[in-house]
């Protein structure tokens, strides 16, 4: 009998691990999920609600793929992990034995104990079930006359875009005084504020949720804002105040957990042959400037690629390269390479050069070291940039002047698009003169 690797979770982390283990070995592989039968792209759920795609389109592999590659899929919810006997217990009391276990259960939406947070019509936007819920409570603007979104992060703004696509009025409560300014520098955050309002979203900055009020059927009727006491009638409340590791089922196991499943640089837990990857893994110590828990598509994928090597005999440290990420805020695409900090957590040496196009939909921020002028990172909005070019420049410790000079090489916009590099260069040098 071949060695049996069981992966809990069929998201990007688990599936990447499975694919790579299959490439490298003949091990028996089983992926367990309680969410869906087949792997789908979580980031694409919004496009199903918006009618850009059907759910099937979000599945990167056709259904025959799994059988052909001898990856078993099992649907079920695991309620207990018995590491002594290397056995998983399902909620229907089925059991499954493993030799190697990979925990890749991802995240769940945060709830902070708000009154009414479990009412009908209150939901996160993370799982496929959340999408089904939204379809039920907000199919159109006659059933859902207004929706309130709580939490100004990436999922929050996506949910706003989703609801807006069905012409449902949205009130968007953001705790901070400007959208996502824990991460974004001021100029960018302000531009996104304006862009959100241009899409007729009722954006409420510096606003917290006090409570959610139910109607006589236990369904959402309205919410109350902490700061003003204002009551806003609504039919749906979206809770998008971040996510945290989805690991409640491990509480009684021997596996060490903190906020997430504690892992070392080899993604190993305290138990031999048990690994954790993706959103649910928590590094003992942060890697570089990264957070100990990284709930990002790309890092999940990288951990999957890495853990497969270790499991298949090529013990490999999780060593992510230069930080990168991307998102889309309504019509504005965002990419980031290297580190550009918002006001919060910005190191003293980090200096910013900010350029914004007059149409208010494009801007960049380049971060560099104030003393040695090393390029540290870039945020780019509305202009596409090349990942490999910036990755190389970061590795080569290029200076900010070099990056500004060669910005055109990094441009990734479609052909015939206007190139803003010259304008940016002019602004940069003009800026130097005035400083």
């Amino acid at each position: 009998m071949e060695e049996h690797t069981v992966i809990i979770g069929n998201g990007i982390s688990g599936v990447t691990a499975a694919r790579h283990i299959r490439k490298l070995s003949k091990k028996r592989i089983t992926i367990v999920s309680s969410e869906t039968d087949y792997f789908f792209s979580r980031t694409a759920l919004m496009y199903v609600y918006m009618g850009h795609m059907t759910f099937e389109h979000t599945q990167p592999y056709e259904n025959w793929f799994w059988k052909k590659n001898k990856i078993d899929l099992k649907k079920g919810f695991i309620k207990q992990v018995d590491t002594d006997n290397k056995q998983l217990l399902f909620s229907n009391n089925d059991t499954l034995n493993y030799d190697t276990l990979i925990i890749a259960t991802g995240s769940k939406p945060n709830k902070f104990g708000w009154p009414g947070e479990n009412l009908n019509g209150v939901m996160g936007m993370y799982h496929k079930q959340d999408l089904e819920n939204l379809e039920k409570y907000a199919p159109n603007n006659s059933v859902c006359k207004r929706a309130v979104i709580v939490g100004g992060g990436l999922i929050g703004i996506e949910l706003a875009e989703m609801l807006h696509s069905r012409r449902i009025p949205v009130t968007f409560l953001v705790r901070e005084n400007s959208f996502w300014n824990g991460i974004l520098p001021e100029g960018e955050s302000a531009m996104i504020n304006r862009h959100i309002k241009n899409h007729h979203i009722d954006l409420r900055l510096s606003s917290n949720l006090k409570e959610i009020i139910a109607d006589e059927n236990g369904k959402v009727k309205s919410i109350i804002i902490e700061e003003t006491g204002e009551e806003i009638p609504c039919n749906v409340v979206g809770l998008t105040a971040g996510v945290s590791p989805n690991i409640d089922f491990l509480k009684d196991s021997n596996i060490e957990i903190g906020k997430g499943v504690k892992v070392n640089r080899y993604l190993e837990t305290n138990i031999t042959n048990v690994y954790a990857i993706g959103d649910c893994a928590e590094q003992h110590a942060p890697i570089g400037q990264r957070r100990p828990i990284e709930a990002v598509w790309y890092t999940g994928r990288m951990m999957g690629e890495t853990v497969a090597q270790t499991i298949c005999g090529n013990k490999t440290k999780y060593t992510p390269g230069h930080w990168f990420n991307s998102a889309k805020f309504f019509d504005i695409e965002y990419q980031t390479y290297g580190w550009v900090h918002g006001a919060k957590g910005k190191p003293d040496y980090e200096t910013h050069f900010h350029w914004k196009h007059h149409d208010d939909t494009k801007c960049i921020t380049i971060a560099y070291h104030s003393q040695n002028r090393t390029f540290l990172g870039i945020n780019t909005f509305g202009i596409r940039m090349r990942h490999d070019t910036f990755d190389r420049w970061l590795s080569e410790n290029k200076s900010v002047e070099y990056v500004i000079q060669h910005l055109k090489e990094a441009n990734f916009d479609p052909e015939f698009y206007k190139c803003y590099a010259p304008e940016i260069q002019t602004a940069f040098y003009k800026n130097l003169e005035t400083v």
């Binding site: 850009h52 059907t54 159109n140 690629e305 060593t319 889309k328 990419q335 990755d391």
Partner: protein
């Protein structure tokens, strides 16, 4: 799950979004215009045909343009795919099927029963729909309309008006706008106006749309066509030579530099219609593996069919004696065999490693056919075979490929199979261009490192049914013979992952197992090993 009454006619679950009053007005205007055409089809005899034709075409155009303006003008630039899968017409709902049936019926009547459109037979005057178009035809080329003139006019109208729609829809995207202007220009000028003017100048010339290149233009080398060219003096000879140069010189150069998109989504009329009027159906193309398996066999078989048919036809009307005409049967067949052998040997020597196993089998199979031709020629059985069959072959091609495949199925089935079914499964020109694009071109769609989130927008909106995501999520560039370079995958990508580029051929194909962003040593280790 969703218990409410579904008021839309959509087969999909949620309601399609309601339309605004402006949309309704535009719809009414367009329908009135269309109604005039339907009345004409029902043989209503209009007193002033010129006026009613102008009114009809004008109202249709106005309706489409107003509708598009209402949809896009007062919005912010961006991707406008909201509700595509909820609308009945664009998600194979009832309206989609109805549109498919109506279009298909129209094509069947057009190709096989033009008299029902009112074509005057045996010198009789046109009536009905074709009669309505007489004034325009008279104006342009001083002759009564034919079913092809009616078709050409409506075709051009569709490309122009839906071209405007497309340009408004992609108002933020210069690439989309320019290539749409290009197909609008080529359709109006090259396909519609120039041939009419050429007829006015010299009415012996056969209809020749200069941008319609053999083998897509399968009748270019027909005996009647060649004879007509040759009997029209220098200009005729020039045009015939242009036709030959188009495929053997211009096409390879442009395809090397820009990929097949220079033709398929910038110039071609079939492509032009698909990209404009067919845009609403692009998401319907199948991305399943079996569709791809059918595709690569079918399209190459059509190419072989077309090459054999053309060869046979030309062979048949050529003579034996070089005193009559320098190009004799013997010389011609030797040229054909020589040329095909050259391509086959060249590919097998230089590009063998880029071909999959079954592509090699296919190539070998085709080469066997070439050898068979040579054998038949030398043993003099060719003549007999070709003599009997070349005419039959030609009419079979014209019927099954030229009419049924490219017209009835290719366009009539837009709302069912997507807008590029012909281009993907049947067009021999696309096969020629694609063959070169895959093996010898600077064009590729570059994938932006590790930025793909596997969302699937690119694959969904690929009209050619390429599973773009399968490449993008591996950090691999897309180098596919079928890609027409429409650039929509890059446009709909929410993360800026895809870019159409013409760059050096080195490193064009770059499969990665571990993507950019991870441990450099690991990437190096894994990606080198494979």
């Amino acid at each position: 799950m969703n218990s409410k009454i579904n008021h839309s006619m959509s087969l999909a679950k949620p309601d399609a979004l309601g339309i605004s009053n402006m949309h309704k007005v535009a719809l009414c205007i367009g329908i009135v215009g269309l109604f005039i055409l339907i009345l004409a089809l029902c043989h209503v005899d209009f007193p002033n045909k010129g006026l009613f034709l102008t009114l009809s075409l004008g109202l249709i155009a106005l309706g489409i343009v107003l509708y598009s303006r209402a949809s896009y003008v007062n919005t912010m630039g961006g991707i406008k795919n909201d509700g595509v899968w909820f609308k009945s017409v664009s998600s194979r709902g009832i309206w989609g099927w109805m549109a498919g049936v109506i279009l298909t019926t129209f094509y069947i009547v057009l190709y096989f029963f033009p008299k029902y459109l009112g074509l005057g037979e045996n010198g009789a005057e046109n009536e009905g729909l074709i009669g309505l178009f007489d004034p325009l035809s008279q104006l342009l080329s001083n002759r009564p309309a034919s079913q092809w003139f009616v078709y050409g006019t409506l075709y051009t109208l569709a490309i122009l008006t839906f071209g405007v729609k497309f340009i408004l829809k992609y108002k933020h995207n210069k690439y989309q706008q320019l290539r749409t202007l290009s197909v609008m220009f080529f359709q109006l000028g090259f396909a519609f106006l120039i041939p009419e003017f050429m007829y006015v100048m010299n009415n012996d010339l056969p209809y020749y749309d200069l941008k319609n290149i053999w083998p897509l233009n399968y009748y270019l080398f027909d005996e009647w066509s060649v004879k007509a060219f040759l009997s029209s003096g220098n200009i005729g000879l020039g045009l015939l030579l242009f036709g030959i140069i188009s495929i053997f010189v211009i096409t390879p150069i442009l395809t090397y530099k820009y990929g097949k998109r220079w033709y398929c989504s910038w110039v071609c009329g079939c492509g032009g219609l698909a990209e404009t009027a067919g845009d609403s159906f692009r998401q319907l193309s199948s991305k399943k593996r079996y569709a791809w398996q059918i595709e690569r066999w079918l399209i190459h078989l059509v190419l072989v069919f077309s090459v054999v048919m053309t060869t046979a036809m030309i062979y048949t009307y050529l003579g034996y004696d070089s005193n009559d005409f320098w190009l004799t049967r013997g010389l011609f067949i030797s040229l054909v065999i020589g040329f095909l052998t050259l391509i086959f040997v060249g590919v097998m020597i230089f590009k063998r490693q880029e071909l999959a196993k079954d592509a090699k089998y296919g190539a070998l199979g085709f080469f066997t056919i070439i050898l068979l031709l040579a054998f038949m020629h030398t043993t003099s059985t060719t003549e007999h075979l070709f003599y009997i069959n070349s005419g039959t072959l030609r009419s079979a091609y014209g019927l099954y490929i030229g009419s049924i495949f490219s017209g009835v199925i290719g366009t009539g089935f837009y709302p069912i199979l997507g807008n590029r079914a012909w281009c993907r499964f049947g067009c021999p020109m696309a096969a020629v261009l694609g063959f070169q694009q895959r093996l010898f071109s600077k064009f590729r769609i570059t994938t932006n490192g590790g930025q793909c989130i596997s969302c699937g927008n690119c694959s969904t909106y690929c009209e050619m049914g390429i599973d773009v995501r399968a490449y993008a999520q591996k950090g691999e560039n897309i180098v596919r013979s079928s890609c027409v370079g429409c650039g929509i995958c890059a446009a709909v990508c929410p993360r800026g992952v895809l870019k159409l580029e013409n760059q050096s051929m080195k490193g064009r194909i770059n499969p990665n197992d571990v993507l950019l962003g991870n441990d450099v040593d690991l990437m190096h280790f894994v990606n080198k090993k494979n």
